[in-house]
Amino acid sequence: MSLVARHLEENGLPTVIMGSARDIVEECGVARFVFTDFPLGNPCGKPWDVEMQRKIVGTALDTLGRAWMPRATVQTPFRWGNDEWRDAFMRVDESNREKLAQEGEERRRRQAEAKADRQRPEG
Protein backbone atom coordinates (compact mmCIF):
# COMPACT_ATOMS: atom_id res chain seq x y z
CA MET A 1 0.00 0.00 0.00
CA SER A 2 2.84 2.38 0.85
CA LEU A 3 4.59 1.64 -2.46
CA VAL A 4 1.36 2.42 -4.31
CA ALA A 5 0.96 5.72 -2.43
CA ARG A 6 4.54 6.66 -3.33
CA HIS A 7 3.84 6.01 -7.02
CA LEU A 8 0.75 8.24 -6.95
CA GLU A 9 2.71 11.03 -5.23
CA GLU A 10 5.52 10.76 -7.79
CA ASN A 11 2.89 11.30 -10.47
CA GLY A 12 1.29 14.36 -8.94
CA LEU A 13 -1.55 12.83 -6.92
CA PRO A 14 -1.64 13.69 -3.17
CA THR A 15 -2.24 10.70 -0.85
CA VAL A 16 -2.82 9.86 2.78
CA ILE A 17 -2.60 6.34 4.24
CA MET A 18 -4.77 5.26 7.16
CA GLY A 19 -3.19 2.35 8.98
CA SER A 20 -2.09 0.62 12.17
CA ALA A 21 1.28 -0.90 11.18
CA ARG A 22 3.36 2.14 11.95
CA ASP A 23 6.82 0.68 11.45
CA ILE A 24 6.02 -0.83 8.04
CA VAL A 25 4.55 2.38 6.63
CA GLU A 26 7.22 4.67 8.08
CA GLU A 27 10.09 2.43 6.95
CA CYS A 28 8.74 2.50 3.42
CA GLY A 29 8.38 6.28 3.66
CA VAL A 30 5.13 7.95 2.60
CA ALA A 31 3.91 11.50 2.17
CA ARG A 32 1.11 11.43 4.78
CA PHE A 33 0.11 8.77 7.31
CA VAL A 34 -2.75 8.75 9.83
CA PHE A 35 -1.80 6.19 12.46
CA THR A 36 -4.33 4.63 14.82
CA ASP A 37 -2.76 2.38 17.46
CA PHE A 38 -5.20 -0.51 17.03
CA PRO A 39 -4.85 -4.20 16.25
CA LEU A 40 -4.62 -4.70 12.48
CA GLY A 41 -8.01 -4.79 10.76
CA ASN A 42 -9.80 -1.51 11.54
CA PRO A 43 -7.54 1.36 10.45
CA CYS A 44 -10.55 3.67 9.97
CA GLY A 45 -12.10 3.14 13.41
CA LYS A 46 -13.73 0.45 15.51
CA PRO A 47 -16.50 -1.60 13.88
CA TRP A 48 -19.89 0.16 14.17
CA ASP A 49 -18.37 3.21 15.93
CA VAL A 50 -19.59 5.82 13.44
CA GLU A 51 -18.33 8.81 15.43
CA MET A 52 -14.80 7.41 15.71
CA GLN A 53 -14.76 6.53 12.02
CA ARG A 54 -15.86 10.07 11.17
CA LYS A 55 -13.02 11.50 13.24
CA ILE A 56 -10.37 9.26 11.72
CA VAL A 57 -11.51 9.90 8.14
CA GLY A 58 -11.81 13.62 8.97
CA THR A 59 -8.25 13.58 10.30
CA ALA A 60 -7.08 11.95 7.07
CA LEU A 61 -8.82 14.67 5.02
CA ASP A 62 -7.30 17.40 7.19
CA THR A 63 -3.87 15.82 6.84
CA LEU A 64 -4.19 15.90 3.05
CA GLY A 65 -4.50 19.66 3.10
CA ARG A 66 -2.33 20.56 6.05
CA ALA A 67 0.85 18.49 5.65
CA TRP A 68 3.59 20.65 4.17
CA MET A 69 6.31 18.02 3.86
CA PRO A 70 6.57 14.23 3.46
CA ARG A 71 6.73 11.65 6.29
CA ALA A 72 3.91 13.56 7.98
CA THR A 73 2.58 11.09 10.57
CA VAL A 74 -0.48 12.05 12.58
CA GLN A 75 -1.51 9.75 15.43
CA THR A 76 -5.21 9.70 16.32
CA PRO A 77 -6.04 9.76 20.06
CA PHE A 78 -8.02 6.51 20.17
CA ARG A 79 -7.27 3.53 22.39
CA TRP A 80 -8.50 0.02 21.67
CA GLY A 81 -9.67 -0.52 25.26
CA ASN A 82 -7.22 -3.20 26.35
CA ASP A 83 -3.60 -3.94 25.52
CA GLU A 84 -3.76 -7.73 25.33
CA TRP A 85 -3.63 -7.82 21.54
CA ARG A 86 -0.19 -6.20 21.53
CA ASP A 87 1.62 -9.25 22.87
CA ALA A 88 -0.82 -11.84 21.54
CA PHE A 89 -0.49 -11.10 17.81
CA MET A 90 1.99 -13.47 16.08
CA ARG A 91 3.28 -14.44 19.50
CA VAL A 92 6.16 -16.91 19.68
CA ASP A 93 7.00 -18.47 23.04
CA GLU A 94 7.78 -21.85 24.60
CA SER A 95 4.10 -22.81 24.63
CA ASN A 96 3.70 -22.68 20.84
CA ARG A 97 7.21 -22.94 19.39
CA GLU A 98 6.85 -26.63 18.53
CA LYS A 99 3.38 -26.14 17.03
CA LEU A 100 4.54 -23.27 14.80
CA ALA A 101 7.49 -25.34 13.52
CA GLN A 102 5.10 -28.18 12.66
CA GLU A 103 2.74 -25.80 10.86
CA GLY A 104 5.67 -24.48 8.83
CA GLU A 105 6.72 -28.03 7.86
CA GLU A 106 3.17 -28.88 6.87
CA ARG A 107 2.83 -25.77 4.75
CA ARG A 108 6.10 -26.35 2.90
CA ARG A 109 5.08 -29.95 2.25
CA ARG A 110 1.75 -28.83 0.73
CA GLN A 111 3.46 -26.17 -1.38
CA ALA A 112 6.00 -28.71 -2.70
CA GLU A 113 3.16 -31.05 -3.62
CA ALA A 114 1.27 -28.29 -5.42
CA LYS A 115 4.41 -27.39 -7.33
CA ALA A 116 5.00 -31.02 -8.34
CA ASP A 117 1.39 -31.21 -9.58
CA ARG A 118 1.83 -28.09 -11.71
CA GLN A 119 5.03 -29.43 -13.27
CA ARG A 120 3.51 -32.80 -14.14
CA PRO A 121 2.91 -32.99 -17.92
CA GLU A 122 -0.71 -32.83 -18.99
CA GLY A 123 -1.96 -36.17 -20.08
Binding site: P14, I17, G19, P43, K46, R54, E105
Partner: protein, 172 residues
Amino acid sequence: MVTGGFPMNQRRAYRSFVSYIDRSREYYAAHGYAQPYAWATHPDVPFTPLQKPLSECRIGLVTTAGREELEGASQGRTRELYAMPITSTAPRLYTAHLAWDKKATHTDDLDSFLPLNRLAEYAAEGRIASVSPRFYGVPTEYSQGKTIRKDAPQLLKWCQEDRVDAMLLSAL
Protein backbone atom coordinates in the same frame (compact mmCIF):
# COMPACT_ATOMS: atom_id res chain seq x y z
CA MET B 1 -4.17 8.95 38.15
CA VAL B 2 -6.13 6.97 35.59
CA THR B 3 -7.55 8.27 32.32
CA GLY B 4 -10.00 6.15 30.37
CA GLY B 5 -8.94 3.04 32.27
CA PHE B 6 -5.24 3.48 31.54
CA PRO B 7 -2.63 4.56 34.07
CA MET B 8 -0.71 7.65 33.03
CA ASN B 9 3.03 8.13 32.91
CA GLN B 10 3.92 4.49 32.49
CA ARG B 11 7.52 3.64 31.81
CA ARG B 12 8.57 0.82 29.57
CA ALA B 13 11.73 -0.53 28.01
CA TYR B 14 10.14 -0.99 24.58
CA ARG B 15 8.07 1.22 22.30
CA SER B 16 4.38 0.77 23.02
CA PHE B 17 3.23 0.33 19.44
CA VAL B 18 3.76 -3.09 17.91
CA SER B 19 6.65 -3.51 15.48
CA TYR B 20 5.19 -5.70 12.78
CA ILE B 21 8.56 -5.99 11.06
CA ASP B 22 10.08 -7.53 14.21
CA ARG B 23 7.01 -9.56 15.08
CA SER B 24 6.48 -11.15 11.65
CA ARG B 25 10.20 -11.90 11.25
CA GLU B 26 10.26 -13.89 14.51
CA TYR B 27 6.94 -15.53 13.71
CA TYR B 28 7.99 -16.83 10.29
CA ALA B 29 11.42 -17.80 11.61
CA ALA B 30 9.59 -19.96 14.17
CA HIS B 31 7.81 -21.59 11.22
CA GLY B 32 11.20 -22.58 9.86
CA TYR B 33 11.57 -19.98 7.11
CA ALA B 34 15.27 -19.17 7.04
CA GLN B 35 15.10 -16.06 4.87
CA PRO B 36 13.27 -13.13 6.47
CA TYR B 37 11.03 -10.91 4.33
CA ALA B 38 12.88 -7.77 3.26
CA TRP B 39 10.61 -4.76 3.69
CA ALA B 40 10.75 -1.75 1.42
CA THR B 41 12.65 1.22 2.84
CA HIS B 42 13.45 4.53 1.15
CA PRO B 43 15.58 7.50 2.19
CA ASP B 44 13.60 9.85 -0.07
CA VAL B 45 9.85 10.34 -0.08
CA PRO B 46 7.87 11.95 -2.92
CA PHE B 47 5.36 14.61 -1.93
CA THR B 48 2.63 16.40 -3.87
CA PRO B 49 0.82 19.26 -2.10
CA LEU B 50 -2.96 19.44 -2.40
CA GLN B 51 -3.63 21.68 -5.40
CA LYS B 52 -6.93 23.24 -4.30
CA PRO B 53 -9.17 23.48 -1.23
CA LEU B 54 -10.56 20.18 0.07
CA SER B 55 -14.09 21.44 -0.57
CA GLU B 56 -13.27 21.48 -4.29
CA CYS B 57 -11.60 18.06 -4.36
CA ARG B 58 -12.86 14.73 -5.60
CA ILE B 59 -11.52 12.05 -3.27
CA GLY B 60 -10.82 8.41 -4.10
CA LEU B 61 -10.56 5.47 -1.72
CA VAL B 62 -8.23 2.45 -1.90
CA THR B 63 -8.43 -0.77 0.12
CA THR B 64 -6.17 -3.81 0.44
CA ALA B 65 -9.23 -6.09 0.66
CA GLY B 66 -10.02 -8.39 -2.26
CA ARG B 67 -13.18 -8.65 -4.33
CA GLU B 68 -15.30 -11.55 -3.19
CA GLU B 69 -16.75 -12.59 -6.56
CA LEU B 70 -13.33 -13.30 -7.85
CA GLU B 71 -11.88 -14.74 -4.72
CA GLY B 72 -14.68 -17.04 -3.67
CA ALA B 73 -14.76 -18.79 -7.01
CA SER B 74 -11.11 -19.02 -7.98
CA GLN B 75 -8.34 -19.03 -5.45
CA GLY B 76 -5.77 -18.39 -8.17
CA ARG B 77 -6.89 -14.79 -8.67
CA THR B 78 -6.82 -13.63 -5.09
CA ARG B 79 -4.34 -10.81 -5.71
CA GLU B 80 -6.11 -9.21 -8.65
CA LEU B 81 -6.42 -5.43 -8.81
CA TYR B 82 -9.89 -3.93 -9.35
CA ALA B 83 -11.92 -0.73 -9.63
CA MET B 84 -15.53 -1.12 -8.48
CA PRO B 85 -18.40 1.35 -9.03
CA ILE B 86 -19.81 2.70 -5.77
CA THR B 87 -23.50 1.83 -5.57
CA SER B 88 -26.13 1.94 -2.84
CA THR B 89 -25.48 -1.69 -1.96
CA ALA B 90 -22.37 -2.53 0.01
CA PRO B 91 -19.67 -4.27 -2.05
CA ARG B 92 -18.83 -7.84 -1.13
CA LEU B 93 -15.21 -7.86 -0.14
CA TYR B 94 -12.86 -10.54 1.02
CA THR B 95 -10.35 -10.02 3.82
CA ALA B 96 -9.67 -13.52 5.19
CA HIS B 97 -6.40 -13.92 3.26
CA LEU B 98 -4.82 -10.87 4.88
CA ALA B 99 -2.79 -10.89 8.10
CA TRP B 100 -5.00 -8.69 10.29
CA ASP B 101 -5.63 -9.58 13.93
CA LYS B 102 -8.39 -12.18 13.72
CA LYS B 103 -8.37 -12.81 17.48
CA ALA B 104 -8.75 -9.18 18.55
CA THR B 105 -11.25 -7.88 16.01
CA HIS B 106 -13.31 -8.51 12.85
CA THR B 107 -13.99 -6.84 9.50
CA ASP B 108 -17.81 -7.16 9.50
CA ASP B 109 -18.24 -3.39 9.36
CA LEU B 110 -16.94 -2.21 5.99
CA ASP B 111 -16.54 1.36 7.23
CA SER B 112 -13.94 0.22 9.76
CA PHE B 113 -11.53 -0.38 6.86
CA LEU B 114 -13.24 1.04 3.74
CA PRO B 115 -15.14 4.14 4.92
CA LEU B 116 -17.41 4.65 1.90
CA ASN B 117 -20.30 5.84 4.07
CA ARG B 118 -18.16 8.23 6.13
CA LEU B 119 -16.68 9.72 2.98
CA ALA B 120 -20.14 10.07 1.39
CA GLU B 121 -21.26 11.96 4.52
CA TYR B 122 -18.35 14.40 4.17
CA ALA B 123 -19.28 14.93 0.51
CA ALA B 124 -22.94 15.56 1.45
CA GLU B 125 -21.81 18.12 4.03
CA GLY B 126 -19.56 19.87 1.51
CA ARG B 127 -16.28 19.24 3.28
CA ILE B 128 -15.11 17.57 0.06
CA ALA B 129 -16.58 18.18 -3.41
CA SER B 130 -17.30 14.55 -4.24
CA VAL B 131 -16.25 10.93 -3.92
CA SER B 132 -14.79 9.15 -6.93
CA PRO B 133 -17.50 7.09 -8.70
CA ARG B 134 -15.34 4.00 -8.18
CA PHE B 135 -13.27 2.73 -5.30
CA TYR B 136 -10.11 0.74 -5.89
CA GLY B 137 -8.75 -2.54 -4.57
CA VAL B 138 -5.03 -3.19 -4.37
CA PRO B 139 -4.79 -6.52 -2.53
CA THR B 140 -1.48 -6.72 -0.67
CA GLU B 141 1.15 -8.26 -2.89
CA TYR B 142 4.15 -10.21 -1.62
CA SER B 143 6.12 -9.12 -4.68
CA GLN B 144 7.20 -5.47 -4.41
CA GLY B 145 8.25 -5.61 -8.07
CA LYS B 146 4.73 -6.44 -9.25
CA THR B 147 3.27 -3.71 -7.03
CA ILE B 148 5.57 -1.10 -8.54
CA ARG B 149 5.56 -2.26 -12.18
CA LYS B 150 1.92 -3.31 -12.63
CA ASP B 151 -0.45 -2.42 -9.79
CA ALA B 152 0.59 1.15 -9.03
CA PRO B 153 0.56 2.36 -12.67
CA GLN B 154 -2.85 0.74 -13.28
CA LEU B 155 -4.27 2.41 -10.17
CA LEU B 156 -2.88 5.78 -11.29
CA LYS B 157 -4.58 5.30 -14.67
CA TRP B 158 -7.94 4.62 -13.00
CA CYS B 159 -7.55 7.67 -10.75
CA GLN B 160 -6.86 9.84 -13.79
CA GLU B 161 -9.85 8.41 -15.66
CA ASP B 162 -12.04 9.22 -12.66
CA ARG B 163 -10.51 12.73 -12.31
CA VAL B 164 -9.58 12.21 -8.69
CA ASP B 165 -7.77 15.06 -6.90
CA ALA B 166 -6.46 13.14 -3.90
CA MET B 167 -6.52 9.60 -2.50
CA LEU B 168 -7.21 8.01 0.87
CA LEU B 169 -5.55 4.62 1.17
CA SER B 170 -6.61 2.24 3.91
CA ALA B 171 -4.26 -0.62 4.83
CA LEU B 172 -5.91 -3.56 6.61
